[in-house]
Amino acid sequence: MLEVKDLVVTAGDVRIVDGVSFEVRPGEVLGMVGESGSGKTMTMLAVAGLLSGPARVAGGTAVLDGTELTAARLERLRGRRIGFVFQDPATSLNPLMRVGTQISEVLRIHGVSRSEARRRAAELLEQVDLGPERAGRYPHELSGGQRQRIVIAMAIALRPSLLIADEPTTALDVTVQEQVMRVLRTAQRETGAATVLVSHDLGLVAEAAHRIAVMYAGRLVETGTVQEVLGTPRHPYSAALMRSRPRVGTGRGPLPVIPGYPPAPKSRPPGCAFHPRCPVTLDRCAKETPPLVGGVACWAVRDD
């Protein structure tokens, strides 16, 4: 179980992630959605201790199965307890190494014998719907979807208790997407890992996640089950986002839009960061930041 509490990530004096708390239980998939600059990826990089550049954790805690994920511990836990799948499989694979060897390496580093590692690698390939003959291939000899499945095999090789998938299918074609998501879901179920699926794609999250966390301008604005958040969103931002999404079959015509643009981290408005774009604005919205209470961070919803 992953428990994140009051996480703050800063870069210089900019608060990129501003007090985020959430939990993911074993076997559960949390879909983390939000637009660019909302802090969804930064939140998960911070949890995994993978922040780079000027970004650093400035507050809060992340606890995995009772162990606090401190920088020192993360060095040992990453890989073993935390598995990753990023958007571009090329960044996770060594172009000069056969993919079977890359999967075995993950196991070898953590003390598995050579013959046992080879046997497990073959099993893992099968688990991600790739035949054992693929083990001898180099990454460039595989398609994008196959490469991403190799990355999934590596991510689950050590049966992690936390799996983080950040836009795992964004770079793939829609028919390939479906297959990669199926493999990811199966791998997740078989390992029982608490899983965070970071995505901008609400449709994808609707199909793959149990619960959803919506981020806006560095904060969580709404959390709940998929049915709750997508079916009856309560935060004005989530509600507007659902409405503005084009859908197959609604026919040609203008979409309901959210005016304005999501703010850049360094120019977030005070109070509730969504208030300049919000259809329901109370006096306090511009002054006080609403806390996340009962799954929603909105003064108007609380005053109802």
């Binding site: 074609d173 449709g203 994808l204 609707a206 084009p246 015509g253």
Partner: protein
């Protein structure tokens, strides 16, 4: 019988043995959007580049208002260039980073040696004319795509070739740009050749849809028919794969 705005007949583009576009035929009328959908590598972007004459087709015909473009030299093509314009997927790579927004939008006018109203174009696409002095990197993705559209409109074209124009944008910004394109089409009577892999986006903008697979069009028809009651197996697979549809 009047000529359609764009008539593409048996268009082909080969790279050696690879037939990227293989005998494609379609029409686009004034005020109409034809969406070409398909997955990466199906040839839809090559098709867009052939129509916009960024690359020379290897066969077939492209007629704009009845005028055959295929045999024209670059110089003879130039006066016709103003009639069709291209809008790209990623505005950050298609806008010169060293130029200001004003210079970018003015460039096509300067090339054709005509006068134009840059502040008027910026407000038409929903940008504050004050932004004319800014450089693209100081704009958001949505604002940059609006600059790309303003530049495409500068010479009052009849046809826009839009290659994945909202793919790189966030959901809330995507809806804004879709609405902008719908409004401009209505106000200016523009024909759109709209290239996209995203069936939901296509559903919001297209009158007609053509599905492209391995260089060929496998199904063409009214949007509600192709997306709602697809007849080709490949189209059915595409529609079924849309998550959360």
């Amino acid at each position: 019988m009047t000529e359609p705005l764009l008539r593409v007949t048996n268009l082909s583009k080969s790279y050696g043995a690879l037939r990227a576009v293989d005998g494609v035929t379609f029409e686009v009328d004034r005020g109409e959007t034809l969406a070409i959908v398909g997955e990466s590598g199906c040839g839809k972007s090559t098709l867009a580049r052939c129509v916009a004459r960024l690359t020379q087709p290897t066969g077939g015909s492209v007629r704009l208002d009845g005028v055959e473009l295929a045999p024209l030299s670059r110089r003879r093509l130039r006066p016709l260039r103003s009639r069709f314009q291209l809008v790209f997927q990623d505005p950050s790579t298609s806008l010169n980073p060293r130029w200001t927004v004003g210079e970018i939008v003015r460039e096509p006018l300067r090339l054709q040696d005509v006068r134009g109203d840059v502040p008027g174009l910026l407000s038409e696409v929903g940008l504050d004319p004050e932004l004319a002095g800014r450089h693209p990197h100081r704009l958001s993705g949505g604002q940059r795509q609006r600059v790309g559209i303003a530049r495409a409109l500068a010479l009052s074209p009849d046809l826009l070739v839009l290659d994945e124009p909202v793919t790189a944008l966030d959901v809330s910004v995507q809806a804004q740009i879709i609405n902008l394109l719908l409004r401009l089409q209505e106000e200016r009577g523009l024909g759109y050749l709209f290239i996209s892999h995203d069936l939901a986006v296509v559903s919001a903008v297209a009158h007609r849809v053509a599905v492209m697979h391995a260089g060929r069009l496998v199904e063409t028809g009214p949007a509600e028919q192709v997306l709602g009651r697809p007849s080709h197996d490949y189209t059915r697979a595409l529609v079924a794969a849309v998550p959360g549809a």
